[in-house]
Structures are given as structure tokens and as C-alpha cells.
């Protein structure tokens, strides 16, 4: 199998399967699981090729830029693809039991095709080599995400979905306007051609601002985060895991890609600092909001708001080295695993208790030990304690902050860790509480299937493994990374 075939397969396979799953409902579950498994193989193969052969560019149909569609993959894209495949498979394996819940009605039926469309658009986004394809895939992603949020069909869910739709479409408009400006100035949307031609003139500056605002809205950076908690909390838990773990990372990826590969980031230092300050505020604000929540899924959703903040520190902390850049990407990957695990665990608990009120979790450590364990280990990643990937990522970000004398960021990151410990342990401590078997009637809970118990744990353990085996993702990231010696190289 050539890597080109893997690239095309990653896009077309889930897309075709999504259409089949939509039409032939009976095969949807099996088909999704098969595709998700094949996706892992393809993404793994691609990562392997990139690691050993360097960056790859594939002109679909042989047309080439500026006319045709270029697929492009380097270490960063390969890692994001691998993350998507890994988290995606876990979520897909988890979901059949979840949607067997008597109250989920028919929402399960639509989940599978949507899930496949989501994989297709995510893969296409990470492989896109030009601005226009990035726009198209972002739009596809938005529409799928809206449907996923509204899947539960409750009033809350529909309201949240509608709000997200409005926000995301507005964001897309900003982005499209920025792209149009760039196209009118340079006559191309190809990222590499743009990078060589880029000049720091007024239209370009406007386009940078427009694109950045659009992407910030989609990534839910403070203070543009208000749509996120209700949306992620109202969606069915597997969908929340997809949204928090994967969808948010895609718009961050686009910004990261443009910022360091296309835009003259050295001239953008001021805007970078602004993003950093917003990120730092997000860390504090999101964590404090998470601590205040009474419902588990809202707590996890606000934790996402906080964790997104860490990612944006990269725009302020990157000074001539890849340390902060690699740290931020590693953070994104680690957060994908840990947050998906946390949402799936929260989903299992909600499934068992028919409610996600934190107060009702008393005694859960005895009733659902595996799930609580999974939540706690995911929490280790969110707190950034060793040996998780989150720890290593935070270490790299901290190191950049200290080396460049940005003590404020260092302190915010450290307090972020402590605040995360507070909200994680609020849940864990509750679950350790004994309930007096005589005084209160035994809590009626629905049994959780083994799939729903063990997949969150597997994801959580993977987020720890990411820290222990960090040389693998970090090695992959060096392929085509900004400032690294290999970035000048290109396809062999």
C-alpha cells in the first residue's frame, strides 16, 4: 500500500461508508466499527511513512496546484490523523451499548452515519493542502457537529445545537472572508505557495484577523467559549467525546498550521501575546467555572474551556524553538485522549444513574470502580501530573515560559493544574463517600456493559502511555515542524 492510497482512503472510505450507513441502517454499527478499525491501520501506515520518508504531497488526479486538490501530510498532520483514528475507534466501540439505553430512542440510528461523516471531514481537514479545502472541511465538520449536538432531541440539546450552528456559521463566514482576501491578493490558496508569497500588507493583516477570529470562535477560546459548555453537555456522551476530543482540535490545528507555516509569525508577536493572554484567562476562568458545576458533564465541558487555553499559549511562547510548539501539539493529543475518556466515563455514570448530578455519585467508587478509576486517570492527564502526556506537554510549555521569562504564564499553568485537581477530586471524593446501607435505600443503578466500562479506561491509560512513550509522537512531530532543519527539506 502506498501512502498516497492511505491518504485517499482516509477520506473516501468513511465518506462512502457514511452514505451506506445512512441508507442501510442495519449495517451501520458493524460498518462504522470496521471503518474505524481500518482507519487506524491507514493512519498508522501514513504516520510510519512520514516518519521514515518525510513529508508527502499528493496531487489528486495529477492536476496539481493551483488548480487541483493537493493532499499534504507532515508529522503534525500524521499525528492528528492518528489521534483521530485512535479516539474515534474507542468512541465507536463504546457507543453501541450506550445507544441501547431505552431512552435514547432512535438517536443511535443517526449517530453512526454522522460519526462516519465526521471522520471523513476530520481526515480531509488534516490532509488539506490549501485554504479552500480547509474551509470546505471545516464547514462539513460544523454541520456534522451541529447534528451530533442535537441528537438527543431535547429542548436543551436543540437550543444548544442552534446556538452552535449560528456561532459556527458566523465563524465560517469570517474565515471565508479572510480566505477570499488572501486569494484576491495572491491568486492562490495553496498553503505553500502562499507561504512563499506572503507579504505583511494591509489586506493580508485584515485577512489574518478575520481568519483568526473565525477559528477562535470555533475553538471556543475565552471569551468566545459561551456556546461550548451547553453544547457539549447536552449532546449524547459519545458525541460529547467526539466534539471535545476531536472537533475542537481541528480548528486549533488550522490556526496552528497557518500561523507557523504561512503567516509571518515573527511579525505577529503582539497578536500572539493577545492570544496567550486570552489563553491564560481561559485556563483560570474555565477551571473556576468547572469547580462550580453541579453536573458532571458540564464540569467536564468547562474543563475543556480551560484546557483549550493552554493550547493558545503557544502563540505567545514560541520563540525560535520548537519546544512550546511541540508542547502544545502534545498537549492537544493528550487532551484528546484524556477528555474523550472523561466524557465517556461521565457518560457511563450518567447511563447508570439516569442523571449526572455529582451529588448522586456517592458510593460510585464501589458500584462502578472501573469507571471511576478511568475518570480519575483521565483526571491525571487533565491536571498534568506525571507520567501523563499532559505532564510532559505542560513541562515543555513551562520550560518555554521560564526560559523566556514569562513568569505570569508559568504561574497560570501551575494554578491551572491545582484548579484541575480541585474539580477532578471533587468528583472522585464524592464517589468515595460511603452511603449508609441502612439509613438510605440502596441506589438503583443500571448495570454498565463491559465495553462502556473498559473503553474509557483504555483511553485514559493511553493518555498516560503518551507521556511515557512521548519520544514517538515528538519524533514524528519533527518531520516538517517549523524552525526544524527538516522543514526546509521536503519530499524526497
Amino acid at each position: 500500500m502506498t501512502p498516497e492510497l492511505a491518504m485517499v482512503g482516509l477520506i473516501t472510505l468513511p465518506l462512502a461508508a457514511g452514505i451506506i450507513a445512512f441508507v442501510v441502517r442495519r449495517v451501520a454499527v458493524v460498518l462504522t466499527i470496521v471503518v474505524a478499525s481500518v482507519q487506524i491501520v491507514l493512519a498508522g501506515h501514513l504516520a510510519h511513512s512520514v516518519f521514515y520518508q518525510g513529508r508527502l504531497r499528493y496531487e489528486v488526479g495529477g492536476w496539481g496546484a493551483p488548480l487541483g486538490i493537493d493532499l499534504y501530510v507532515d508529522g503534525l498532520s500524521a499525528l492528528m490523523l492518528l489521534m483521530t483514528a485512535l479516539v474515534g475507534l474507542a468512541i465507536v466501540v463504546y457507543s453501541p451499548s450506550y445507544f441501547a439505553h431505552p431512552r435514547s430512542h432512535h438517536s443511535g440510528e443517526y449517530f453512526w452515519p454522522l460519526c462516519l461523516f465526521l471522520f471523513a471531514s476530520l481526515n480531509a481537514l488534516f490532509l488539506a493542502g490549501d485554504l479552500f479545502n480547509l474551509y470546505v472541511t471545516l464547514e462539513l465538520l460544523t454541520l456534522t457537529a451541529v447534528a451530533l449536538i442535537g441528537l438527543a432531541g431535547t429542548v436543551d440539546a436543540l437550543a444548544a445545537a442552534l446556538r452552535y450552528l449560528i456561532v459556527a456559521v458566523t465563524a465560517s463566514l469570517f474565515f471565508l472572508l479572510g480566505v477570499a482576501l488572501l486569494y484576491s491578493s495572491y491568486g492562490t490558496v495553496d498553503l505553500h505557495l502562499l507561504a512563499t508569497k506572503f507579504q505583511f500588507d494591509l489586506p493580508s493583516r485584515c485577512s489574518i484577523v478575520l481568519i483568526a477570529v473565525g477559528l477562535l470562535l470555533k475553538t471556543a477560546l475565552f471569551p468566545l467559549h459561551y456556546w461550548l459548555p451547553p453544547a457539549h453537555a447536552a449532546a449524547p456522551s459519545p458525541a460529547s467525546a467526539l466534539l471535545s476530543g476531536l472537533v475542537l482540535k481541528s480548528s486549533f490545528y488550522v490556526l496552528l498550521r497557518l500561523w507557523f507555516d504561512v503567516f509571518p509569525y515573527a511579525d505577529l508577536r503582539l497578536v500572539g501575546h493577545l492570544l496567550g493572554v486570552l489563553g491564560a484567562t481561559a485556563i483560570l476562568w474555565g477551571s473556576i467555572q468547572a469547580i462550580r458545576q453541579t453536573h458532571l458533564k458540564l464540569l467536564v465541558a468547562y474543563s475543556t474551556v480551560a484546557q483549550i487555553g493552554y493550547l493558545f499559549l503557544v502563540f505567545s511562547l514560541t520563540v525560535e524553538t520548537t519546544m512550546a510548539w511541540s508542547g502544545a501539539v502534545l498537549f492537544a493529543a493528550s487532551h484528546s485522549l484524556a477528555k474523550a475518556a472523561a466524557f465517556l466515563a461521565a457518560g457511563s455514570l450518567k447511563y447508570a444513574h439516569d442523571s449526572d448530578r455529582i451529588d448522586e455519585l456517592a458510593g460510585a467508587a464501589q458500584r462502578q470502580p472501573v469507571t471511576i478509576f478511568a475518570f480519575a486517570i483521565a483526571g491525571v492527564g487533565l491536571m498534568g501530573l506525571p507520567p501523563s502526556g499532559g505532564f510532559l506537554a505542560k513541562w515543555m510549555l513551562l520550560n518555554s515560559a521560564v526560559t523566556s521569562g514569562r513568569w505570569g504564564y508559568a504561574l497560570v499553568m501551575l494554578s491551572g493544574g491545582v484548579l484541575a485537581a480541585i474539580y477532578v477530586f471533587r468528583v472522585v471524593a464524592k464517589s468515595f463517600e460511603n452511603i449508609d446501607p441502612i439509613a438510605s435505600c440502596p441506589v438503583a443503578t443500571r448495570p454498565i456493559s463491559p465495553w462502556m466500562q473498559w473503553t474509557p479506561l483504555a483511553l485514559a491509560v493511553a493518555s498516560l502511555a503518551l507521556g511515557v512513550l512521548a519520544y514517538l509522537p515528538l519524533g514524528l512531530l519533527e518531520i516538517g515542524a517549523p524552525f526544524s532543519p527538516t522543514s526546509g527539506g521536503g519530499t524526497p
Binding site: 478509576f373 480519575a376 506525571p386 510532559l392 513551562l398 508559568a410 501551575l414 477530586f425 468515595f432 512521548a470
Partner: protein, 498 residues
């Protein structure tokens, strides 16, 4: 990869793997769990004995994995690691026996023993860490694995104790992380090198180093319960007795004290600490802690809380020994790591026996208990006298060395602190000893379970008796080869080797 690489890993794995398997076993498989527990503890003893022999022959055990370009995960076994790892292996074995007896019929044993083993794995990892980063990994792992043990009972007090414990230790961990990142950004990866290595880093960093030293001491001081960072310790007393025993004698407070000693000797170097002028403030902090802990202990009526304040005071002897520049005091501080462990675990075992057998939790209920439980109370008495510093027991050796070391270093005030502490030790321990042996019982015991042929369950009785015997032996045989004192001398010889 040969045995030299494998051995440090195996020492950690010998408690890590049983811990994980115990989780998988579930609640019901009691026999399998017991076999795993004791098997793991025995294997660990064996491995540690092998390493002990190897290190005494100047053999070096190192294993190293790169995680990123500038970060290694590395374990090594130097004499100081071995001192701590031996202590933890021996006391883990005894505490496991004790815990099996203690928790016999209580629920959630699987969870308990699982985290118990993980906690020991973390402690061994701390002992064997070859650099500051590896140390931090296990240090945080220790925080996380002891939390479920502290809240094990699930009562509101336990949850509260757990919350306070976490509040202190997680914040301490954050401070430590900052200090480590800062240090690494200046000097690169921080390996533990005998004699320290910062002296060569250049003059312009001196002030920065003072700050980093302070942050490191705060980070470790939380676990070592240096005043005013000690608040969690009395609250964590809600944990079951074997946990308190392990926390106080081996795991948590010792990890903090061990960290302080590592920083002073193997990162900064004790003479460089003196040059920077940070040794004396540390000595003063330790001295304040020693006196304050003892003073508070006098006023506690709850037996376990009295022991907790006593721990706060006693652990700081280690920091005090580290902060006095000079070989004799160093030996005293290091050897106290072992001595305090042996004495304190005996006291906690005894307190656990009193609570478990007779329902006694308070000092005022102890009248005449010596006649009901002679073995337990003999062990308690020996350990208490050792704590006070009565020759020839363990505590006397420590205090003698610390005192003479301080005089040799010209720090006379330390002798005053030691004397004051000794008086306070006597004030809070001697009345207990007097009441148990010489006062008549007030009446029936609160909850006499009257277990079996012996005064209590045999598994609860053997460990304290053995540790009490060792308290006497390490004092009497202090100059024999392989005694803790002899080993401490070996460590210090390497530190002060010209």
C-alpha cells in the same frame, strides 16, 4: 539489558505488579490476594538484599530511558537510595502482615491492598530515582496513590481529611514542578550527583539558586510536614492504622525528608548550601518544627493525633541533620531516616492494636492497659523510650550524633533545641507509659473484642514486637557492619570524600 539494569526496575515492579493484579482480582479472592501481597513483599526483600550486597561492593545499578531529548527517566541504586529502599521493603513486609490482620473482615480490601502496593511502588521509585524528574514522577504518584487510602473509610471525616491532604500535597507538587523547570532551564537535566554540581554553574546564578532552593524545600517540606506546611498530617489520621503507620514511617513524610536530603547533598552540595547561606534558614525551620510539633503533641488527648504531632517533630531531625554542615551531623540525620521509621511504626502498630482490640482512641483511656495487652504495650514503651532518646535505643544514637555534629560545626544552639525537644518528648510519652503500667484500670474497656488465645490477633501482634526489638538492636549494634549507622557512615564518607 542485564541484571544491573533490571534490578532497580524489578524492585519497583515487585510492588507495582502485585498492586495492579490485586485490582484485577476483585474483592472476593482473599487467598490469592494474600499470596500476592506477601509474595510481592518477599520478592522485594530478596531483590533489595541482592542490591544491598552489590552496592556494598561498589557495584553500580543504573537504568535509563530517554523520554525526550532533554528528559530521561532514570533509576539508580546508590547507598542512600538503598538505605531508604531497604527501610521501605522491610517495613512494607511487616505492615502487610499487620494490614491483613487489621482489615480481615472489612469491605473493599481489594481496593485497599491495590493502592497500598502502588504506594510502596511509588516510594521505591522515589528512593531509586537518579534524577529530579524521575523523582517528581514518583512523588506525584505517591500523592495520588495515598489519597484513596486516606479516604478509605468513606466517612465525612475521611473525605475531609483526604481533601486537606490533597490541597497541601498538590500545591506542594506545583511548587516543586516550578522549581524543577526553573532549575532545568538554567543547568539542563538535574541528575543526582554525590556532592552536588551547582557550584560550577557560575556566580551570576547565585541569587536564582537561593530562590530555587527555597521553592524546592517548600515543595518537599509539604510532605515532610515542615511547619507551617504540616497542617495535613494530623487530619490524615482518619486513615486506617496500617496506612498511618506506613504514611508516617515510610512513605509520605519520609519521601519529603528524603527529597530534602537529596537536594541538599546531591543537587546543591552541602558545602555549597552553606556558601549560599541557605543551610542555616533550613536548620532554623527544622528546629522550629521540632519544638512546635513536640509542644502541640503534649496537648493532644487523641492518641493518634499525639503521635502525628510527634511525627512532625521527629521527621525534622532529618532535615536538621541535613542542614548542619559537617559529617557527624549528616550521619545523624541520615540514620534517623531509619530510626524514626522503626520507632514510629511500632507506636502506630500499638495504637492500632489498642483501637482495634479494646476500642481505645484516647490517652485518658489508657490507665492499666499494660496488664490487658502486655506485649503491645511493651513494644509501645520501648519505642516511646527510644523517641525520648534513652540509651541504648535508636533515638539516642540519633540525638547524640546530631548534638555532637552541631558542636563540631560550632552551632551550639542546636544542642538547646535537642534538649528542649527531649524534655517535651518525655512530657508527652512518659505519662502514657506510667498510666499503662502503674495505674489501675478505670473499668471495662470501651469495646473489648477479646480476640483468641493471645491478647489480640496474632498478625497484629508480631509486627510491633519485631519492630520494637529492632529499635533496641539498631541502637545496641550500631557499630556492626550493615547496621543503619554503618550504612549512613558509608553514605557520608562518599559525600565528604575530598
Amino acid at each position: 539489558m542485564n541484571l544491573d539494569h533490571l534490578l532497580p526496575l524489578m524492585v519497583v515492579a515487585s510492588s507495582l505488579i502485585p498492586g495492579l493484579v490485586i485490582f484485577a482480582l476483585g474483592e472476593q479472592r482473599k487467598t490469592a490476594r494474600t499470596i500476592l501481597n506477601l509474595g510481592g513483599a518477599s520478592v522485594k526483600l530478596l531483590l533489595v538484599a541482592m542490591m544491598l550486597w552489590g552496592v556494598s561492593q561498589d557495584h553500580v545499578y543504573v537504568v535509563r530511558f530517554p523520554i525526550t531529548q532533554s528528559i530521561d527517566f532514570a533509576l539508580h541504586a546508590d547507598p542512600f537510595s538503598l538505605l531508604f529502599v531497604t527501610l521501605s521493603a522491610v517495613l512494607w513486609f511487616l505492615t502487610t502482615i499487620y494490614a491483613i490482620g487489621y482489615l480481615e473482615n472489612l469491605p473493599h480490601c481489594g481496593r485497599f491492598f491495590g493502592f497500598f502496593s502502588l504506594c510502596v511502588a511509588a516510594t521505591s521509585g522515589i528512593a531509586l530515582s537518579a534524577n529530579l524528574l524521575t523523582f517528581l514522577v514518583f512523588y506525584e504518584m505517591l500523592t495520588l496513590t495515598t489519597y484513596p487510602l486516606v479516604v478509605h473509610r468513606g466517612t465525612p471525616e475521611a473525605i475531609r481529611g483526604g481533601r486537606i491532604y490533597l490541597a497541601y500535597t498538590v500545591s506542594g507538587g506545583a511548587v516543586l514542578l516550578l522549581a524543577m523547570v526553573w532549575l532545568q532551564s538554567i543547568v539542563g537535566p538535574v541528575e543526582f550527583v554525590v556532592g552536588g554540581f551547582l557550584e560550577s554553574a557560575g556566580h551570576e546564578y547565585r541569587n536564582t539558586f537561593r530562590w530555587i532552593f527555597a521553592l524546592l524545600i517548600v515543595g518537599f517540606g509539604v510532605k515532610a510536614a515542615l511547619v507551617p506546611l504540616h497542617g495535613w498530617l494530623p487530619e490524615a489520621m482518619v486513615a486506617p492504622a496500617p496506612v498511618s503507620a506506613l504514611l508516617h514511617a515510610v512513605a509520605v513524610v519520609k519521601a519529603g525528608a528524603f527529597g530534602i536530603v537529596r537536594v541538599v547533598y546531591d543537587v546543591f552540595g552541602v558545602e555549597f548550601c552553606g556558601e549560599l547561606g541557605v543551610a542555616t534558614p533550613l536548620a532554623i525551620a527544622a528546629a522550629v518544627t521540632i519544638l512546635y510539633g513536640s509542644l502541640r503533641a503534649v496537648y493532644q488527648n487523641d492518641l493518634k493525633r499525639r503521635l502525628a504531632y510527634s511525627t512532625i517533630s521527629q521527621v525534622s531531625y532529618i532535615a536538621l541533620g541535613a542542614a548542619i554542615v559537617g559529617p557527624i551531623a549528616t550521619v545523624g540525620g541520615i540514620v534517623h531516616l531509619v530510626h524514626q521509621g522503626l520507632m514510629k511504626i511500632t507506636l502506630f502498630f500499638a495504637a492500632g492494636n489498642l483501637a482495634e482490640t479494646l476500642g481505645i482512641h484516647e490517652v485518658s483511656e489508657l490507665n492499666g492497659v499494660g496488664r490487658r495487652m502486655p506485649w503491645t504495650m511493651s513494644a509501645f514503651t520501648i519505642a516511646a523510650l527510644g523517641m525520648i532518646g534513652v540509651p541504648p535505643m535508636a533515638g539516642f544514637v540519633t540525638k547524640w550524633l546530631l548534638g555532637s555534629g552541631a558542636i563540631a560545626a560550632g552551632q551550639w544552639w542546636v544542642v538547646g533545641v535537642l534538649a528542649g525537644s527531649t524534655v517535651l518528648n518525655a512530657i508527652y510519652f512518659l505519662p502514657i507509659v506510667y498510666a499503662t503500667w502503674f495505674k489501675p484500670p478505670d473499668g471495662p474497656w470501651p469495646h473489648d473484642h477479646g480476640r483468641g488465645r493471645f491478647e489480640t490477633h496474632l498478625l497484629l501482634l508480631i509486627p510491633p514486637v519485631l519492630t520494637a526489638i529492632s529499635v533496641v538492636l539498631v541502637g545496641l549494634l550500631a557499630s556492626m557492619p550493615f547496621s543503619p549507622l554503618d550504612w549512613a557512615r558509608l553514605i557520608v564518607e562518599r559525600e565528604y570524600r575530598p
